[in-house]
């Protein structure tokens, strides 16, 4: 069933022709357009006006359907935000576990509805704070977690049966998950109530985030161990968050972000099926993570296209039967890369627009960046404004009261179709290379992103794209930057504290149990078994992050990226 009948379309066509030939030229003579051509942030050329003619063969039921029904373009739930708002999940963590415990409690107190842990770089690449490579890095970009002891402190006074926690962790995902589960065990929380997410998305590490440790094949194997074990043991856990965010931040366009993320997802689904798992057993636990950038409608269209594409992939490619297997459930973070140092308070407005796009795009969970993030991890003051931004959208603006309110907009529907079509082309290309694992090894998505990021920078410099305060309404007021109150903490003191604590942990644990757990882990790795039960036992035995990762590095080796640019 198409939206307009032929007769009506004919009349519109006639009218539009007349408008283009008669009305518009007169206006353009007096008021020429601001730009020679208008494009989205991803260089999709957009017209002046969209009409039913742009949706000529467009079928409502085929393209949209209803909320909670295939292909889920309008949202994965029939009730959407009328029943349950998105989870307000602020990516948080700095310093040691004590500082982070305080920050989590501060955000909970101000109405945050889910937790999300940001780890520092030593944790992200799986080394202990007293490793020489960690020197000067501990606690800066997130919390340092070196053992179960640190995780106990992070969750001191927080009931893990009542919160869900995202952990942005990749190669060491099995280790951090084991620490999390071990603390929950100590709190007496049963496995069926442990809820949250491990990012655990290895392919995008090579594509964009660059906290890789193991070579691609081993990295995927270990990540799939986490998924398989979680599906069987932690029914509420999202063991993977297939992430476009970092891909976009590294310079990809919206189309590339969408295509590469879904292609990563396709690779994981194949890997899991190859393990003998039934698609409907694991697919409902796959989750996604996207960026919300500054070009408003493009982002909304991207989110809607993503849902429709994933539903189709799961149903038609992989034969999923359960509705839940077809759901693209996703977390969104506003675009860190859109924030600038110049006139930093303007970043609040950027974040607001991006958060609004995420909500209009039907996100399940949202992090809003703080305006001070071009300089450092956020202060309490800045993080609270970011959280309040979500609350104002949720409770004041009214945008959450109607499901997919932009559905049916000629422009948004056209753009949704356009982004989808372009993304399929990329996916076809990646399929022809043998899937994303092979494409990554060939450096294909990496090069595409490099080209896109360089082009964007050239566009900025040549005045085809704008950033207020940077290349238009340029601000050189350094005092305005100087007056931003930044988070202050004594990094050196925290680094010393974390080094001291990890040494204490090593000295005070049951040495026999610890030693055996690492030996068992090594043997399991050599035999190619699922590592999770062994990592969990090592975690419970207070094996440190660096020790567990050290065993795995010895078995699987490490990845070194070719230095291309």
């Amino acid at each position: 069933m198409v939206m307009f009948d032929g007769e009506e379309l004919g009349r519109i066509e006639e009218k539009l022709k007349e408008w283009r030939e008669k009305t518009l030229p007169k206006w353009l003579e007096r008021m020429p357009e601001r730009m020679e051509e208008f494009t989205t942030l991803s260089d999709i050329k957009v017209k002046d006006v969209y009409t039913p003619l742009d949706l000529k063969d467009w079928s409502y039921l085929e393209k949209l359907g209803l909320p909670g029904e295939y292909p889920f373009t309008r949202g994965i739930h029939a009730t959407m935000y009328r029943a349950k708002l998105w989870t307000m999940r602020m990516f948080s963590g700095y310093g040691g576990p004590e500082e982070t415990n305080r920050r989590l409690k501060f955000l909970i107190q101000h109405g945050e509805t889910g937790l999300s842990l940001a780890f520092d770089e030593p944790t992200l690449v799986g080394i202990d704070p007293d490793d020489p490579l960690a020197e000067g890095h501990v606690g800066i970009e997130g919390v340092n977690i070196a053992s179960l002891r640190d995780m106990e402190i992070v969750f001191d006074g927080i009931n893990m049966g009542e919160v869900t926690t995202n952990m942005t962790i990749n190669p060491p995902a099995p280790v951090l998950l084991s620490y999390y589960v071990a603390v929950a065990e100590k709190q007496g929380v049963p496995y069926h109530r442990i809820g949250g997410t491990t990012q655990n998305d290895p392919l995008k590490e090579f594509i964009a985030q660059k906290t890789y440790v193991f070579p691609p094949e081993a990295a995927v194997k270990i990540a799939m161990d986490v998924v398989e074990w979680s599906v069987k043991n932690l029914p509420k856990w999202n063991p993977i968050s297939i992430s476009g965010y970092h891909i976009r931040e590294a310079g990809a366009t919206a189309v590339q972000e969408l295509a590469f993320t879904l292609a990563d997802g396709i690779e994981y689904v194949r890997q899991l099926i190859a393990r003998g798992l039934d698609v409907d057993q694991f697919a409902p636990r796959l989750s996604f993570f996207f960026d919300s950038h500054i070009n408003f409608f493009e982002e909304i269209a991207k989110f809607r296209a993503a849902r429709r594409m994933w539903a189709k992939i799961m149903r038609e490619w992989f034969g999923a039967k359960k509705q839940r297997s077809m759901w693209l459930r996703f977390h969104t973070q506003t675009a860190g890369v859109s924030l600038v140092a110049q006139e930093p308070f303007n970043n609040i407005i950027r974040t607001t627009l991006e958060a609004l796009a995420a909500v209009l795009g039907g996100t399940q969970s949202l992090h809003t960046n703080s305006f001070d993030e071009p300089f450092r991890v956020p202060s309490e003051f800045a993080a609270k404004i970011a959280l309040r931004t979500q609350q104002i959208i949720a409770y004041e603006s009214g945008v959450a009261d109607v499901i997919d309110p932009l559905g049916g907009s000629y422009y948004v529907e056209w753009l949704t179709d356009e982004i989808e079509e372009r993304a399929w082309k990329y996916i076809d290309r990646i399929e022809s290379m043998g899937g994303m694992l092979e494409a990554v090894k060939k450096g294909y998505p990496q090069r595409e992103i490099m080209d896109a990021s360089y082009k964007f920078q050239r566009d900025l410099e040549e005045g085809r794209k704008f950033i207020v305060g940077v290349n238009i309404f340029r601000s050189d007021d350094i005092d305005e930057i100087r007056n931003v109150p930044l988070l202050e903490f004594d990094q050196e003191e925290i680094e010393e504290r974390q080094k001291r604590r990890v040494k204490e942990v090593r000295a005070n644990r049951n040495q026999e149990r610890w030693k055996r757990s690492l030996e068992d882990l090594r043997r399991a790795a050599e035999r190619g078994e699922n590592l999770m039960p062994y990592v969990l036992e090592a975690g419970r035995s207070y094996a440190t992050l660096g020790e567990i990762m050290g065993v795995l590095k010895e078995v699987y080796g490490v990845y070194v990226e070719p230095p291309e640019y």
């Binding site: 770089e121 030593p122 992200l124 690449v125 490579l133 960690a134 020197e135 000067g136 890095h137 800066i140 970009e141 985030q209 660059k210 906290t211 931040e249 590294a250 310079g251 890369v337 600038v340 140092a341 110049q342 071009p374 300089f375 450092r376 991890v377 490099m450 990021s453 360089y454 920078q457 050239r458 900025l460 410099e461 950033i467 305060g469 940077v470 290349n471 350094i478 930057i481 100087r482 930044l486 070194v560 990226e561 070719p562 230095p563 291309e564 640019y565």
Partner: protein, 157 residues
């Protein structure tokens, strides 16, 4: 084809300015480094990119071995004071502190002064244009070459 603006005639031959673009420590944010490396290359510089996770000491050594005119470091992980201190110390130890060092990244304003005191010649905050980076790097490279000519007596014209 190199742009003449980024080269200098040495004894009739043309030697392009050589820049080492470096990432140090555990910082994986490589978008800026790669964009700048490409822009410098397109402007006619010879560019060597270190790749990720280099120690400051490795970067200093590479700069000396490759005989570069400028070192450009990109840091977006907050560890800039620590990493730059080590880099500058190692350059001094190697007797290579005549190589000008520039830095780009997410640097809080209060850290600018201590970094300049370490001897860093230029610091580029987010939002700096490629044109500005290219111009300043070129100027530093020219200065270094003319200092060398003054010492060795080798030079054009």
């Amino acid at each position: 084809m190199s742009s003449l603006q980024s080269t200098e005639a040495v004894g009739g031959a043309v030697r392009r300015f050589k820049v080492l673009v470096a990432k140090m420590g555990l910082d994986g944010h490589d978008r800026g480094a790669k964009v700048v490396a490409r822009a410098l290359r397109d402007a006619g510089f010879e560019v060597i990119y270190t790749g990720l996770r280099q120690t400051p000491e490795q970067v200093a050594l590479a700069a000396v071995q490759e005989d570069v005119d400028v070192i450009g470091v990109s840091i977006l992980n907050g560890a800039h004071i620590h990493l730059m201190k080590r880099l500058m110390t190692k350059l001094k130890d190697l007797g290579a502190d005549d190589i000008p060092v520039v830095l780009g990244g997410t640097i809080p304003v209060p850290d600018l002064e201590p970094l300049y005191r370490l001897g860093i010649r230029e610091i580029f905050l987010p939002g700096t244009s490629l044109a500005e980076i290219i111009e300043k790097v070129r100027k530093l490279a020219e200065e270094k070459r003319s200092r060398e000519e003054a010492v060795t007596g080798v030079g054009g014209c």
